[in-house]
Amino acid sequence: MAFEFLTRRLELTSLREEEALMYLEKHRVLDLLVNLTSSLIFYQPEKPRDFLLNMLARIKIAKITAVDFPCLMDDSNLVSMFEIMDPTNQGFITPVQYREALKNLGLLDPDEVIDEDKEVITRDDFRDDVNKRTLKMWSAF
């Protein structure tokens, strides 16, 4: 779960609390809530509850049809992000930058290791990989 660092420093004192934490991890609740909150403060709707209801309904339908999850970052955002990391327009980014980008997007599991051998990650690689991970994350809900 990508946002596990939020609960890392909790000191769990009882069995029930550990069960609760396992529940959060199993259903990836924190990822979902962070996503919802980010969308909420980005779009700043007049009626936050209705907006949340809308988003949750869309997620529910999208789970069944496996398409069209509500995403904050679309293709053009990903292209811009790549261009920020690659200002000289070499056409690729280093694995370290790639790792940091994934962490910022919340798509990197904390114990996952990025293949350091691949020297270059092109714009298309980046976009495809991010999309794949996003899909994987949403399907877990």
């Binding site: 529940y23 979902l32 949340l52 309904a57 789970k63 990391m85 930058q97 910022n104």
Partner: protein, 480 residues
């Protein structure tokens, strides 16, 4: 350069939006509910929870010894807040429940109802639509620690717990005068609360078990249990003395129930201190800035700084200063916007005083997008202000400031050479106070949720009062 790693500057609309719409609280309650119930389908559960929209409904426990007035207070609160009243009696008397029928037979045979049965009844009742959407007030339950723990295990937790208390002797005597109206169960008293309607008077009956020995026995039982129940509700408990008139107890209970507990929501203080000259605004602002690291913005100082720094806008202000005329609102607001938009103000919050002084200035502040989220009005009577300001003196030799009453000079030598600032004469002070009060009522109406503070106390007391106004969320207003 990896711009994705640099410290990001969050656009200021985002935290403002979050604060205004209580996003943190919505998410917090949702996460709490998820953790308590741990549903298999979290998304459906969240959809149901959001549709119910019952975060703010009353969820109150009212506990107290016999004859403390629990029933009366509970009934009045129910009427006022439009919530459901739940007592042991009306749980048993429920006609629609099988469990209640069983409980009624046990109760009819004068035996005690087992705790587990009571819990089932309670759970059943709380699952009612009415309780879920309008809130509930539970009176007299839990009676023992075991019950309190069982309630907690079911996932039922109150937001406010009120415990009434009074000395035993008062209670024993009070119980002797207790009378009940058999029609609606309302409790009256022969001395303190006699109904005015003659018809009601004729119906009243004395309930069983109000003799002195009975009451004393029940009181002992109560004291044994209550000390073990109270630690279950550490932060949401309030003890109200019921040894005072009923209306006073009710008023205290209502204020408490409408108050909100301290929350972890991110909050950037944007404080406005209003009050006549001499009410202590600058002092309180300085204390706040010192303790919490928020930025102290004094309008008068800002203007003087602008002039002294010979900036462009200072050039505009200087002629007004030289001719001792009031600087026009448009210029002041520009200087203010300049200061309040700086990164430190946005990040740490600000406390503003000396502006706005009338409705026009307040509207300008609002349209500039700098509405404060806490507004305090310091009330100080005229004589106190005169006393505070006209007795100020300065020592021209050392620059030390004294006050003839609060901080007198140590030696006669110093006292002889003290001088008074021309602005501190009684006539000038009176003019300023009158100017303030002319505009103050319009200003009070302009802002929502103004907090009034008695400024006529020592500075640290006033400071604590202001602090509590900032740290606690604003109380919810009852919407009927």
């Amino acid at each position: 350069m990896d711009a994705t790693r640099a410290p990001h500057q969050i656009p200021v609309e985002m935290p403002q939006y979050g604060e205004q719409h209580h996003i943190f609280e919505i998410m917090q309650v949702m996460l709490q509910e998820l953790l308590i119930h741990q549903p298999e389908e979290p998304i459906q559960f969240m959809l149901n929870h959001l549709r119910r929209d019952n975060d703010m409904v009353p969820r109150i426990f009212i506990l107290g010894p016999p004859a403390s007035g629990k029933t009366t207070i509970a009934m009045w609160l129910c009427k006022h807040l439009n919530a459901s009243l739940i007592t042991k009696q009306n749980l048993i008397r429920n006609e629609f429940s099988i469990i209640a029928a069983k409980a009624a037979t046990i109760f009819g045979a004068n035996q005690a109802i087992p705790d587990s049965m009571l819990m089932e009844l309670l759970e059943e009742r709380l699952a009612n639509d009415e309780c879920v959407s309008k809130g509930w007030i539970l009176e007299g339950i839990p009676e023992t620690r075991e019950q309190a723990l069982m309630i907690q295990t079911c996932g039922i937790s109150p937001r406010h717990v009120i415990v009434l208390s009074a000395p035993d002797t008062v209670l024993i005597e009070r119980n002797l005068g207790k009378r009940i109206d058999p029609f609606n169960g309302e409790v009256y008293h022969t001395t303190f609360d006699w109904p005015s309607d003659a018809e009601v008077q004729s119906r009243l009956m004395a309930p069983l078990g109000i003799s002195e020995q009975e009451t004393a026995k029940r009181l002992m039982e109560y004291h044994k249990n209550i000390t073990r129940i109270l630690p279950s509700y550490p932060k949401i408990l309030k003890v109200i003395s019921s040894d005072q008139p009923c209306v006073d107890v009710f008023y205290q209970a209502l204020t408490y129930v409408q108050s909100q507990h301290r929350s972890n929501a991110p909050f950037t203080p944007k404080i406005l201190l209003c009050g006549p000259t001499g009410s202590g605004k600058s002092l309180q602002a300085a204390l706040l800035a010192h303790k919490y690291g928020i930025i102290n913005v004094c309008c008068g100082h800002l203007l003087k700084e602008a002039v002294a720094s010979n900036s462009n806008i200072g050039e505009f202000i200087r002629p007004f200063f030289e001719q001792e005329m009031q600087v026009p609102d448009q210029i002041i607001i520009r200087v203010l916007i300049n200061r309040l938009s700086k990164q430190d103000c946005i990040r740490y919050g600000w406390v503003l005083h000396g502006f706005p002084q009338d409705l026009n200035q307040a509207t300008l502040l609002d349209s500039a997008g700098f509405m404060p989220n806490r507004v305090f009005f310091l009330n100080v009577p005229y004589d106190s202000v005169i006393e505070r300001l006209t007795l100020r003196r300065t020592d021209p030799a050392t620059g030390e400031r004294y006050h003839l009453m609060y901080k007198p000079p140590p030696t006669m030598q110093i006292q002889e050479r003290l001088m008074q600032h021309p602005e501190d004469t009684e006539e000038k002070v009176k003019l300023k106070i009158d100017a303030f009060y002319r505009n103050s009522s319009l200003l009070e109406d302009f802002f929502n949720d103004v907090i009034y503070v008695n400024g006529d106390q020592d500075p640290y007391t006033v400071f604590e009062y202001i602090e509590s106004g900032i740290i606690l969320p604003l109380p919810t207003k009852v919407t009927l």
